[in-house]
């Protein structure tokens, strides 16, 4: 996947001079014919099954369900507008996720009071706390721990460990190098472990020592 998603698609505005030649509607794209009569049904069949995946990722990255619903609608409108360039058989799901993250970075970014983390990775720290047994944690505790990780790391963990995209797909979706994907994933998982340990301590699941729990 090459350049950015066409911005006119995001904002639904005609901008002829900026409709570039390398719009990556999806991998292996070619300029297809105009939207066919049944394009709506085809789009629904190809794209709608991924709605829950997009929603839960948006909800976790944005931290707000209402905004996630709005964003998902926007993603589908954008996708629909570019659907005539979508080639059947290519990875529609990765394409939708790419639009999702493009929208988050270029449009929704301004809504956050705090700046997004830069590409600079945080300093490496040793994980000093023991990780609680996953079975002892509730879903709420796991999600609370995930939400505490910085957004960029959370995004990579979600795409890799929940949505099961490959490194290459994630690199395309987030428009970052594969090396960055790998380091963010490794760091994100560590941060999640640290947070889980903190959560577990606060719930009294773990004692506050550094011994690995063997129970």
């Amino acid at each position: 996947m090459g350049g950015p998603i066409p911005t006119d698609a995001i904002i639904a505005m005609p901008d002829g001079d900026e409709q570039g030649q390398d719009e990556p509607a999806c991998a292996g794209v070619s300029r297809g014919p105009a939207i066919a009569e049944d394009a709506g049904s085809r789009f629904e069949a190809e794209a709608l099954p991924h709605l829950n995946d997009l929603y839960r990722t948006a909800a976790r990255v944005l931290g707000d369900r209402g905004e996630a619903e709005d964003l998902v609608q926007e993603v589908y409108l954008t996708a629909w507008k570019s659907f005539h360039r979508f080639e059947p058989g290519t990875n529609c799901r990765a394409w939708l996720f790419k639009i999702l993250f493009y929208s988050i970075n270029h449009h929704w970014r301004r809504r956050f009071r705090f700046p997004l983390l830069s590409d600079r990775e945080p300093a490496e720290r040793e994980v000093a706390c023991a990780t609680p047994l996953p079975e002892r944690l509730t879903d709420e505790e796991i999600l609370a721990a995930l939400d505490k990780a910085p957004r960029d790391f959370r995004a990579v963990v979600l795409l890799a460990d929940v949505e099961e995209f490959s490194y290459k797909e994630i690199a395309g979706i987030l428009n970052i190098p594969i090396g960055t994907v790998m380091s963010r994933l490794s760091r994100g998982r560590k941060l999640l472990r640290e947070q889980l340990a903190t959560v577990a301590q606060s719930y009294g699941i773990l004692k506050t020592n550094n011994k690995r729990s063997e129970a």
């Binding site: 911005t7 995001i10 001079d17 709506g40 709605l51």
Partner: protein
């Protein structure tokens, strides 16, 4: 544990860490290490249980039941656009508005503007105007007509601002100075919509589009007497419809608007920042 052994664990864990989803381990050394090292084996097992729990927890979160239908309805509506009927529901109206916009956009960029497209544009503009107080609709209408439905050829700055006319030329710089660098100037001219004349400066970035719109007051036109905010002694008024924000103020004989798809507070703050300088320019023009 010896240093060598320690290094082996780290290497092995890094190798397995780098595998994603369906990938299976193919590195013989790493696999061998795993067979021999119970600490790595239990660490990996813990990681995979953790991932399973994380997946289940995140996937347990489902959208409100209506979202599928809303998205489907939006797409269907879009197929029928631009001659869609305006549905009463707010969300549907917004969706339909975007839908007809996008269809219009496709037509505008691919062929010469067809009458039906212009009609659809006017229909859209009318629907948006109808949802704000009439005075706000004045600025909103020109923004939509002249900026929103337009393609922007890249013109060099001087060529652009010359269309503004000497006395209003300082407005382009005033806007430029207050708007973030990522925005570029795309319009600085005089234009008209529905027989009314406007002075119009527009800037855009990859996502947002904003217009400063100035027009002479017509009989009885005024912003509401109460409400709004004050910036530098100037009373500002605000309205919004869907993604569009309209902030405005008035002088003795003119209406000044900032219209954009920025956030409400951003639009408000931007006009608050612009108002004193814009007011000064208008004042000096009035005094000749």
């Amino acid at each position: 544990m010896t240093a060598d052994r320690d290094y082996g664990c780290r290497q092995a864990l890094e190798y397995f860490e780098a595998l994603t989803g369906g990938e299976t381990a193919s590195d013989a050394k790493a696999q061998e290490h795993l067979k021999a090292c119970s600490s790595c084996a239990s660490e990996l097992e813990l990681r995979s249980r953790l991932r399973a729990r994380l997946k289940a927890a995140v996937r347990g979160e489902l959208p409100m039941p209506g979202l599928h239908d809303r998205v489907r309805a939006t797409i269907r509506e879009r197929e029928r656009a631009p001659r869609s009927s305006w549905l009463p529901n707010r969300v549907m109206l917004a969706a339909a508005a975007m839908a007809s916009l996008c269809i219009a956009a496709l037509v505008v960029t691919r062929s010469n503007i067809a009458p039906s497209t212009l009609a659809a544009q006017d229909e859209f503009i009318g629907a948006m105007q109808a949802r704000v107080a009439a005075v706000f609709g004045v600025g909103l209408g020109d923004h939509l007509h002249c900026s929103w439905f337009r393609t922007f050829p890249s013109l060099p700055g001087p060529e652009l601002t010359s269309a503004l006319g000497g006395e209003y030329a300082p407005l382009a710089k005033i806007v430029r100075d207050q708007v973030p660098d990522r925005f570029r100037l795309v319009i600085a001219h005089r234009c008209s919509y529905r027989g009314r004349r406007f002075v119009h400066v527009s800037m855009k970035d990859d996502v947002n589009l904003l217009s400063l719109v100035i027009t002479d007051k017509q009989a009885g036109e005024s912003f509401p007497a109460s409400g709004g905010t004050v910036a530098g002694g100037i009373q500002l008024h605000h309205a919004g419809v869907d993604r569009f924000q309209v902030s405005g103020f008035e002088t003795a004989d003119q209406l000044v608007f900032l219209v954009s798809d920025l956030r409400p507070d951003e639009n408000r703050n931007l006009l608050a920042a612009l108002a004193p300088d814009v007011n000064r320019v208008l004042d000096s023009i009035r005094k000749g």
